[in-house]
Protein backbone atom coordinates (compact mmCIF):
# COMPACT_ATOMS: atom_id res chain seq x y z
CA UNK A 1 0.00 0.00 0.00
CA UNK A 2 1.10 3.49 -0.72
CA UNK A 3 0.18 4.71 2.76
CA UNK A 4 1.37 2.76 5.74
CA UNK A 5 -1.65 3.96 7.71
CA UNK A 6 -5.39 4.05 7.07
CA UNK A 7 -6.72 7.39 8.29
CA UNK A 8 -9.25 8.46 5.67
CA UNK A 9 -11.15 6.46 3.07
CA UNK A 10 -9.59 8.76 0.46
CA UNK A 11 -6.16 7.33 1.37
CA UNK A 12 -7.08 4.20 -0.58
CA UNK A 13 -6.92 3.95 -4.33
CA UNK A 14 -9.78 2.07 -5.97
CA UNK A 15 -7.40 -0.84 -6.63
CA UNK A 16 -6.34 -0.96 -2.98
CA UNK A 17 -9.98 -0.91 -1.90
CA UNK A 18 -10.88 -3.82 -4.14
CA UNK A 19 -7.81 -5.74 -3.10
CA UNK A 20 -8.70 -5.33 0.60
CA UNK A 21 -12.25 -6.50 -0.10
CA UNK A 22 -10.83 -9.56 -1.88
CA UNK A 23 -8.60 -10.29 1.08
CA UNK A 24 -11.54 -9.89 3.47
CA UNK A 25 -13.33 -12.54 1.42
CA UNK A 26 -10.46 -14.92 2.13
CA UNK A 27 -10.75 -14.18 5.84
CA UNK A 28 -14.45 -14.85 5.73
CA UNK A 29 -13.67 -18.38 4.51
CA UNK A 30 -11.02 -18.85 7.18
CA UNK A 31 -11.26 -16.23 9.94
CA UNK A 32 -8.94 -18.04 12.36
CA UNK A 33 -5.34 -18.07 11.19
CA UNK A 34 -2.09 -17.47 13.12
CA UNK A 35 -1.02 -14.57 10.88
CA UNK A 36 -0.55 -12.06 13.71
CA UNK A 37 1.28 -14.50 15.98
CA UNK A 38 4.03 -12.64 17.81
CA UNK A 39 2.53 -9.24 16.93
CA UNK A 40 1.27 -6.74 19.46
CA UNK A 41 -1.56 -4.40 18.45
CA UNK A 42 -2.42 -1.36 20.56
CA UNK A 43 -6.11 -0.41 20.73
CA UNK A 44 -6.27 3.15 22.03
CA UNK A 45 -9.87 4.15 22.68
CA UNK A 46 -9.82 7.74 23.91
CA UNK A 47 -13.61 7.58 23.88
CA UNK A 48 -15.65 4.46 24.46
CA UNK A 49 -16.98 2.62 21.43
CA UNK A 50 -17.75 -0.89 22.52
CA UNK A 51 -18.95 -2.16 19.16
CA UNK A 52 -15.96 -0.98 17.14
CA UNK A 53 -13.47 -2.04 19.79
CA UNK A 54 -14.90 -5.55 20.12
CA UNK A 55 -14.92 -5.96 16.36
CA UNK A 56 -11.24 -4.98 16.15
CA UNK A 57 -10.28 -7.12 19.13
CA UNK A 58 -12.15 -10.11 17.74
CA UNK A 59 -10.42 -9.63 14.38
CA UNK A 60 -6.99 -9.48 16.04
CA UNK A 61 -7.64 -12.35 18.46
CA UNK A 62 -8.74 -14.70 15.70
CA UNK A 63 -5.44 -14.00 13.96
CA UNK A 64 -3.56 -14.75 17.21
CA UNK A 65 -2.31 -11.20 17.75
CA UNK A 66 -1.87 -9.81 21.25
CA UNK A 67 -3.76 -6.69 22.31
CA UNK A 68 -2.66 -3.89 24.63
CA UNK A 69 -4.56 -0.67 25.19
CA UNK A 70 -7.29 1.15 27.03
CA UNK A 71 -11.03 1.40 26.56
CA UNK A 72 -11.63 5.02 27.46
CA UNK A 73 -9.55 8.07 28.20
CA UNK A 74 -10.23 7.98 31.94
CA UNK A 75 -8.10 4.85 32.26
CA UNK A 76 -5.21 6.37 30.32
CA UNK A 77 -2.63 9.01 31.11
CA UNK A 78 -4.71 11.58 29.21
CA UNK A 79 -6.41 12.34 32.52
CA UNK A 80 -2.98 13.33 33.81
CA UNK A 81 -2.72 15.86 31.00
CA UNK A 82 -0.47 13.94 28.62
CA UNK A 83 -0.52 15.20 25.03
CA UNK A 84 -1.52 12.95 22.15
CA UNK A 85 2.01 13.41 20.84
CA UNK A 86 3.58 11.90 23.96
CA UNK A 87 1.02 9.09 24.19
CA UNK A 88 1.66 8.01 20.60
CA UNK A 89 5.45 8.34 20.89
CA UNK A 90 5.33 6.07 23.92
CA UNK A 91 2.83 3.48 22.69
CA UNK A 92 4.73 3.35 19.39
CA UNK A 93 7.53 1.57 21.30
CA UNK A 94 5.25 -1.17 22.55
CA UNK A 95 3.43 -2.37 19.48
CA UNK A 96 3.46 -3.20 15.77
CA UNK A 97 0.28 -1.32 14.87
CA UNK A 98 -2.02 1.20 16.54
CA UNK A 99 -5.81 1.19 16.32
CA UNK A 100 -7.06 4.54 17.57
CA UNK A 101 -10.44 6.04 18.37
CA UNK A 102 -10.39 9.68 19.44
CA UNK A 103 -13.09 12.36 19.82
CA UNK A 104 -11.03 15.13 18.20
CA UNK A 105 -11.08 15.50 14.41
CA UNK A 106 -7.74 15.07 12.68
CA UNK A 107 -6.20 13.26 15.66
CA UNK A 108 -5.70 10.08 13.63
CA UNK A 109 -3.81 11.91 10.86
CA UNK A 110 -1.58 13.51 13.46
CA UNK A 111 -1.00 10.14 15.17
CA UNK A 112 -0.04 8.57 11.85
CA UNK A 113 2.60 11.28 11.39
CA UNK A 114 4.01 10.77 14.87
CA UNK A 115 4.09 6.98 14.87
CA UNK A 116 6.58 4.80 13.03
CA UNK A 117 4.10 1.92 13.08
CA UNK A 118 0.90 1.93 11.00
CA UNK A 119 -2.15 3.66 12.48
CA UNK A 120 -5.71 2.54 11.78
CA UNK A 121 -8.30 5.24 12.40
CA UNK A 122 -11.22 3.73 14.27
CA UNK A 123 -13.09 7.04 14.23
CA UNK A 124 -11.82 10.60 14.81
CA UNK A 125 -14.78 12.65 15.99
CA UNK A 126 -17.15 13.56 13.18
CA UNK A 127 -14.40 13.20 10.59
CA UNK A 128 -13.54 9.70 9.35
CA UNK A 129 -14.17 6.07 10.19
CA UNK A 130 -12.69 4.24 7.19
CA UNK A 131 -13.01 0.67 8.48
CA UNK A 132 -16.77 1.24 8.78
CA UNK A 133 -16.87 2.35 5.16
CA UNK A 134 -14.85 -0.67 4.08
CA UNK A 135 -17.18 -3.06 5.87
CA UNK A 136 -20.18 -1.30 4.30
CA UNK A 137 -18.57 -1.74 0.88
CA UNK A 138 -17.83 -5.37 1.64
CA UNK A 139 -21.46 -5.94 2.64
CA UNK A 140 -22.71 -4.23 -0.52
CA UNK A 141 -20.43 -6.22 -2.81
CA UNK A 142 -21.18 -9.48 -1.05
CA UNK A 143 -24.94 -9.08 -1.24
CA UNK A 144 -25.07 -7.57 -4.74
CA UNK A 145 -22.21 -9.48 -6.36
CA UNK A 146 -20.66 -6.27 -7.68
CA UNK A 147 -20.23 -2.59 -6.83
CA UNK A 148 -21.31 -1.37 -10.23
CA UNK A 149 -24.66 0.08 -11.34
CA UNK A 150 -26.34 -0.02 -7.94
CA UNK A 151 -29.14 2.16 -6.64
CA UNK A 152 -28.32 3.10 -3.08
CA UNK A 153 -30.85 4.72 -0.76
CA UNK A 154 -29.45 6.64 2.19
CA UNK A 155 -32.08 7.30 4.85
CA UNK A 156 -32.16 9.39 8.02
CA UNK A 157 -29.59 11.92 9.17
CA UNK A 158 -27.71 12.76 5.99
CA UNK A 159 -26.40 16.07 7.24
CA UNK A 160 -24.23 15.00 10.15
CA UNK A 161 -23.92 11.29 9.40
CA UNK A 162 -20.22 10.57 8.99
CA UNK A 163 -20.85 7.04 7.72
CA UNK A 164 -23.15 8.13 4.88
CA UNK A 165 -20.71 10.81 3.72
CA UNK A 166 -17.80 8.38 3.56
CA UNK A 167 -19.95 5.73 1.91
CA UNK A 168 -21.08 8.24 -0.71
CA UNK A 169 -17.48 9.25 -1.43
CA UNK A 170 -16.38 5.63 -1.73
CA UNK A 171 -19.33 4.44 -3.84
CA UNK A 172 -19.03 7.42 -6.16
CA UNK A 173 -15.98 5.69 -7.63
CA UNK A 174 -18.43 3.28 -9.25
CA UNK A 175 -21.46 3.99 -11.39
CA UNK A 176 -23.86 4.46 -8.50
CA UNK A 177 -27.29 6.09 -8.38
CA UNK A 178 -28.10 7.68 -5.03
CA UNK A 179 -31.44 8.41 -3.41
CA UNK A 180 -31.45 10.58 -0.30
CA UNK A 181 -34.38 10.34 2.10
CA UNK A 182 -34.22 12.72 5.04
CA UNK A 183 -36.10 15.43 6.90
CA UNK A 184 -35.61 18.93 5.51
CA UNK A 185 -33.22 19.92 8.30
CA UNK A 186 -30.97 16.90 7.84
CA UNK A 187 -30.50 16.89 4.08
CA UNK A 188 -27.28 15.85 2.35
CA UNK A 189 -24.86 18.83 2.43
CA UNK A 190 -24.50 20.69 -0.84
CA UNK A 191 -20.76 19.95 -1.17
CA UNK A 192 -21.51 16.23 -1.65
CA UNK A 193 -24.21 16.95 -4.21
CA UNK A 194 -21.82 19.22 -6.12
CA UNK A 195 -19.26 16.43 -6.04
CA UNK A 196 -21.75 13.99 -7.59
CA UNK A 197 -22.71 16.61 -10.17
CA UNK A 198 -19.06 16.93 -11.10
CA UNK A 199 -18.78 13.19 -11.59
CA UNK A 200 -22.04 13.09 -13.55
CA UNK A 201 -23.64 10.65 -11.11
CA UNK A 202 -27.40 10.74 -10.57
CA UNK A 203 -29.04 11.47 -7.24
CA UNK A 204 -32.60 12.17 -6.10
CA UNK A 205 -33.79 13.76 -2.89
CA UNK A 206 -36.98 12.87 -1.06
CA UNK A 207 -38.47 13.97 2.21
CA UNK A 208 -41.00 11.13 2.34
CA UNK A 209 -40.16 7.54 3.06
CA UNK A 210 -42.54 5.94 0.53
CA UNK A 211 -42.67 3.02 -1.90
CA UNK A 212 -39.94 4.78 -3.89
CA UNK A 213 -37.73 2.25 -2.08
CA UNK A 214 -38.92 -0.45 -4.48
CA UNK A 215 -36.13 0.76 -6.79
CA UNK A 216 -33.43 0.19 -4.19
CA UNK A 217 -30.62 -2.34 -4.26
CA UNK A 218 -29.41 -1.16 -0.87
CA UNK A 219 -31.28 0.77 1.82
CA UNK A 220 -28.76 2.25 4.22
CA UNK A 221 -30.55 3.38 7.37
CA UNK A 222 -29.10 5.79 9.93
CA UNK A 223 -30.28 7.13 13.22
CA UNK A 224 -32.03 10.52 13.43
CA UNK A 225 -30.48 11.83 16.61
CA UNK A 226 -32.45 14.02 18.94
CA UNK A 227 -29.46 16.23 19.77
CA UNK A 228 -29.24 17.33 16.12
CA UNK A 229 -32.49 19.30 16.43
CA UNK A 230 -32.57 22.75 17.94
CA UNK A 231 -36.32 22.45 18.24
CA UNK A 232 -37.40 19.28 20.05
CA UNK A 233 -40.90 19.65 18.57
CA UNK A 234 -39.35 19.16 15.13
CA UNK A 235 -37.65 16.01 16.33
CA UNK A 236 -40.91 14.61 17.66
CA UNK A 237 -42.49 15.27 14.28
CA UNK A 238 -39.86 13.47 12.21
CA UNK A 239 -38.65 10.73 14.53
CA UNK A 240 -41.35 8.28 13.55
CA UNK A 241 -41.45 9.20 9.86
CA UNK A 242 -38.17 7.50 9.05
CA UNK A 243 -38.86 4.15 10.61
CA UNK A 244 -38.52 1.10 8.39
CA UNK A 245 -41.17 -1.54 9.01
CA UNK A 246 -41.45 -5.00 7.57
CA UNK A 247 -44.59 -4.31 5.52
CA UNK A 248 -42.76 -1.53 3.65
CA UNK A 249 -40.39 -4.11 2.16
CA UNK A 250 -43.18 -5.97 0.36
CA UNK A 251 -42.58 -4.58 -3.13
CA UNK A 252 -38.84 -4.16 -2.86
CA UNK A 253 -36.42 -6.04 -5.11
CA UNK A 254 -35.35 -9.58 -4.23
CA UNK A 255 -31.70 -8.63 -4.12
CA UNK A 256 -32.36 -5.58 -1.93
CA UNK A 257 -30.69 -5.59 1.49
CA UNK A 258 -31.12 -3.26 4.47
CA UNK A 259 -27.90 -2.01 6.06
CA UNK A 260 -27.36 0.01 9.24
CA UNK A 261 -24.07 0.94 10.94
CA UNK A 262 -25.62 0.12 14.34
CA UNK A 263 -26.49 0.75 17.09
CA UNK A 264 -30.10 1.20 16.03
CA UNK A 265 -32.69 2.76 18.25
CA UNK A 266 -36.11 2.67 16.66
CA UNK A 267 -35.42 3.51 13.01
CA UNK A 268 -35.65 -0.13 11.98
CA UNK A 269 -38.59 -1.88 13.60
CA UNK A 270 -37.65 -5.24 15.08
CA UNK A 271 -40.22 -6.89 12.81
CA UNK A 272 -37.72 -6.34 9.97
CA UNK A 273 -35.12 -8.52 11.68
CA UNK A 274 -36.73 -11.76 10.52
CA UNK A 275 -36.99 -10.61 6.92
CA UNK A 276 -34.21 -12.10 4.79
CA UNK A 277 -33.64 -8.63 3.38
CA UNK A 278 -32.34 -7.41 6.71
CA UNK A 279 -28.58 -7.59 6.70
CA UNK A 280 -27.31 -5.33 9.53
CA UNK A 281 -26.17 -8.08 11.88
CA UNK A 282 -24.22 -9.91 9.16
CA UNK A 283 -22.88 -6.49 8.22
CA UNK A 284 -21.42 -6.18 11.72
CA UNK A 285 -19.82 -9.62 11.35
CA UNK A 286 -18.31 -8.54 8.04
CA UNK A 287 -16.52 -5.84 10.04
CA UNK A 288 -14.32 -8.53 11.57
CA UNK A 289 -13.16 -9.88 8.19
CA UNK A 290 -12.66 -6.41 6.76
CA UNK A 291 -10.57 -5.32 9.75
CA UNK A 292 -8.50 -8.50 9.53
CA UNK A 293 -7.81 -7.66 5.90
CA UNK A 294 -6.88 -4.03 6.67
CA UNK A 295 -4.53 -4.91 9.53
CA UNK A 296 -2.71 -7.69 7.65
CA UNK A 297 -2.40 -5.49 4.59
CA UNK A 298 -0.97 -2.55 6.55
CA UNK A 299 1.54 -4.88 8.20
CA UNK A 300 2.39 -6.25 4.77
CA UNK A 301 1.66 -9.79 5.90
CA UNK A 302 -0.64 -10.63 2.98
Amino acid sequence: MENKSLVSIDDLSTEEMVSILDLAEEFEKQPSQPILEGKVIATLFFEPSTRTRLSFESAISRLKGKIVGFTDASSSSVTKGESLYDTIRTVNNYCDLIVMRHPIEGSARLASEIADVPVVNAGDGANQHPTQTMLDMYSIRKTQGSLDNLNIFLVGDLKYGRTVHSLLMAMSRWNTTFNFISPEELRMPVEYKLYLDKLGLRYYEHSDFTDIIKKADIIYMTRVQKERFSDSMEYEKVKNVYVLRNHMLKNTKDNMRVLHPLPRVNEIHTDVDKNKKSYYFQQALNGVFTRQAIITRLLDLK
Partner: protein
Protein backbone atom coordinates in the same frame (compact mmCIF):
# COMPACT_ATOMS: atom_id res chain seq x y z
CA UNK B 1 1.87 73.10 -12.37
CA UNK B 2 2.49 69.44 -11.73
CA UNK B 3 4.28 68.67 -8.52
CA UNK B 4 7.38 66.54 -8.86
CA UNK B 5 6.77 62.93 -7.82
CA UNK B 6 8.12 62.32 -4.36
CA UNK B 7 8.85 58.98 -2.84
CA UNK B 8 7.32 58.48 0.60
CA UNK B 9 9.85 55.77 1.32
CA UNK B 10 13.35 56.27 0.03
CA UNK B 11 14.68 54.18 -2.83
CA UNK B 12 17.01 51.23 -2.44
CA UNK B 13 19.97 50.33 -4.59
CA UNK B 14 19.58 46.55 -4.59
CA UNK B 15 16.86 44.36 -3.13
CA UNK B 16 13.12 43.81 -3.18
CA UNK B 17 10.19 46.17 -2.90
CA UNK B 18 6.87 44.71 -1.81
CA UNK B 19 4.11 47.09 -2.82
CA UNK B 20 0.32 47.10 -2.58
CA UNK B 21 0.13 45.50 0.83
CA UNK B 22 -3.16 46.37 2.59
CA UNK B 23 -2.12 48.70 5.41
CA UNK B 24 -3.85 46.50 7.95
CA UNK B 25 -1.75 43.52 6.89
CA UNK B 26 1.69 45.12 7.09
CA UNK B 27 2.70 43.62 10.40
CA UNK B 28 1.30 40.23 9.39
CA UNK B 29 3.52 40.33 6.31
CA UNK B 30 6.52 41.27 8.44
CA UNK B 31 5.76 38.38 10.75
CA UNK B 32 5.14 35.80 8.01
CA UNK B 33 8.35 36.67 6.20
CA UNK B 34 10.29 36.84 9.47
CA UNK B 35 11.51 40.36 8.68
CA UNK B 36 11.74 41.15 12.37
CA UNK B 37 14.56 38.61 12.60
CA UNK B 38 16.90 39.66 9.81
CA UNK B 39 19.67 42.21 9.95
CA UNK B 40 19.25 43.77 6.50
CA UNK B 41 18.23 47.36 6.14
CA UNK B 42 14.45 47.57 5.86
CA UNK B 43 12.30 50.64 5.36
CA UNK B 44 8.57 50.62 5.28
CA UNK B 45 5.73 53.00 4.98
CA UNK B 46 2.13 52.46 5.88
CA UNK B 47 -1.20 54.22 5.50
CA UNK B 48 -0.05 55.53 2.15
CA UNK B 49 -2.74 56.54 -0.28
CA UNK B 50 -3.75 53.95 -2.81
CA UNK B 51 -6.54 54.15 -5.36
CA UNK B 52 -6.94 50.39 -5.29
CA UNK B 53 -6.57 49.56 -1.60
CA UNK B 54 -7.52 52.80 0.12
CA UNK B 55 -4.59 52.62 2.52
CA UNK B 56 -1.59 50.63 1.50
CA UNK B 57 1.77 49.72 2.90
CA UNK B 58 5.10 49.25 1.20
CA UNK B 59 8.25 47.45 2.33
CA UNK B 60 11.71 48.00 0.88
CA UNK B 61 14.31 45.41 1.66
CA UNK B 62 17.95 46.12 0.89
CA UNK B 63 19.87 43.11 -0.33
CA UNK B 64 17.01 40.67 0.13
CA UNK B 65 15.58 38.45 -2.62
CA UNK B 66 12.87 35.87 -2.12
CA UNK B 67 12.19 32.45 -3.53
CA UNK B 68 8.67 32.16 -5.01
CA UNK B 69 7.65 29.63 -2.34
CA UNK B 70 8.64 32.02 0.42
CA UNK B 71 7.03 35.13 -0.93
CA UNK B 72 3.82 33.31 -1.84
CA UNK B 73 3.25 32.72 1.85
CA UNK B 74 2.03 36.30 2.14
CA UNK B 75 -0.71 35.72 -0.46
CA UNK B 76 -3.28 34.98 2.25
CA UNK B 77 -2.89 38.42 3.84
CA UNK B 78 -1.78 40.46 0.84
CA UNK B 79 -3.28 38.81 -2.23
CA UNK B 80 -2.63 41.82 -4.47
CA UNK B 81 0.94 42.46 -3.40
CA UNK B 82 3.39 43.30 -6.17
CA UNK B 83 7.08 42.63 -6.12
CA UNK B 84 9.77 44.71 -7.71
CA UNK B 85 13.28 43.35 -7.89
CA UNK B 86 15.73 46.24 -7.79
CA UNK B 87 19.28 46.21 -9.08
CA UNK B 88 21.29 49.45 -9.29
CA UNK B 89 18.19 51.56 -8.45
CA UNK B 90 16.39 50.08 -11.47
CA UNK B 91 13.43 47.73 -11.46
CA UNK B 92 14.74 44.67 -13.27
CA UNK B 93 11.81 42.35 -12.63
CA UNK B 94 8.19 42.64 -11.56
CA UNK B 95 5.98 39.90 -10.26
CA UNK B 96 2.78 39.30 -8.32
CA UNK B 97 2.22 36.92 -5.45
CA UNK B 98 0.33 33.74 -6.12
CA UNK B 99 -1.67 31.69 -3.68
CA UNK B 100 0.35 28.46 -3.26
CA UNK B 101 -1.15 24.93 -3.46
CA UNK B 102 -0.33 24.22 0.15
CA UNK B 103 -0.25 26.46 3.20
CA UNK B 104 1.79 25.48 6.22
CA UNK B 105 1.29 27.47 9.40
CA UNK B 106 -0.03 31.04 8.86
CA UNK B 107 -3.76 30.25 9.10
CA UNK B 108 -5.83 28.72 11.86
CA UNK B 109 -8.30 25.90 11.19
CA UNK B 110 -11.84 27.18 11.69
CA UNK B 111 -13.07 23.86 13.12
CA UNK B 112 -13.06 24.16 16.92
CA UNK B 113 -12.97 20.35 17.12
CA UNK B 114 -9.79 20.12 15.01
CA UNK B 115 -6.72 18.58 16.64
CA UNK B 116 -4.65 21.61 15.58
CA UNK B 117 -6.68 23.66 18.04
CA UNK B 118 -5.82 21.26 20.88
CA UNK B 119 -2.25 20.07 20.37
CA UNK B 120 0.79 22.14 19.53
CA UNK B 121 0.97 21.20 15.88
CA UNK B 122 1.64 23.37 12.84
CA UNK B 123 -1.50 23.79 10.76
CA UNK B 124 -1.41 22.51 7.21
CA UNK B 125 -3.92 23.08 4.42
CA UNK B 126 -4.44 22.19 0.81
CA UNK B 127 -5.71 25.18 -1.16
CA UNK B 128 -8.95 24.03 -2.80
CA UNK B 129 -9.86 27.42 -4.24
CA UNK B 130 -7.48 30.24 -5.04
CA UNK B 131 -9.90 32.94 -6.12
CA UNK B 132 -11.97 33.12 -2.99
CA UNK B 133 -9.29 31.42 -0.96
CA UNK B 134 -10.59 28.24 0.60
CA UNK B 135 -8.39 25.87 2.56
CA UNK B 136 -8.93 22.18 3.35
CA UNK B 137 -7.36 21.12 6.62
CA UNK B 138 -4.83 18.31 6.25
CA UNK B 139 -5.91 16.98 9.65
CA UNK B 140 -9.67 17.34 10.17
CA UNK B 141 -10.46 17.70 6.43
CA UNK B 142 -12.82 20.64 7.07
CA UNK B 143 -12.86 23.74 4.88
CA UNK B 144 -11.76 27.14 6.14
CA UNK B 145 -12.95 29.88 3.79
CA UNK B 146 -11.69 33.43 3.41
CA UNK B 147 -14.51 34.88 5.46
CA UNK B 148 -13.60 32.79 8.52
CA UNK B 149 -9.86 32.80 8.07
CA UNK B 150 -7.81 33.76 11.08
CA UNK B 151 -4.12 34.42 10.59
CA UNK B 152 -1.93 33.03 13.35
Amino acid sequence: MKEPKQLSVSAIENGTVIDHIPASSLFKVIQILGLDKISNQITFGTNLESKKLGRKAIIKLAGVYFEDDDINRIALVAPEAKLNIIKGYEVVEKSVVEVPDEITGIAKCVNPQCITNFESVTTRFRVVSKKNVSLKCHYCEKITDQEHMVIL
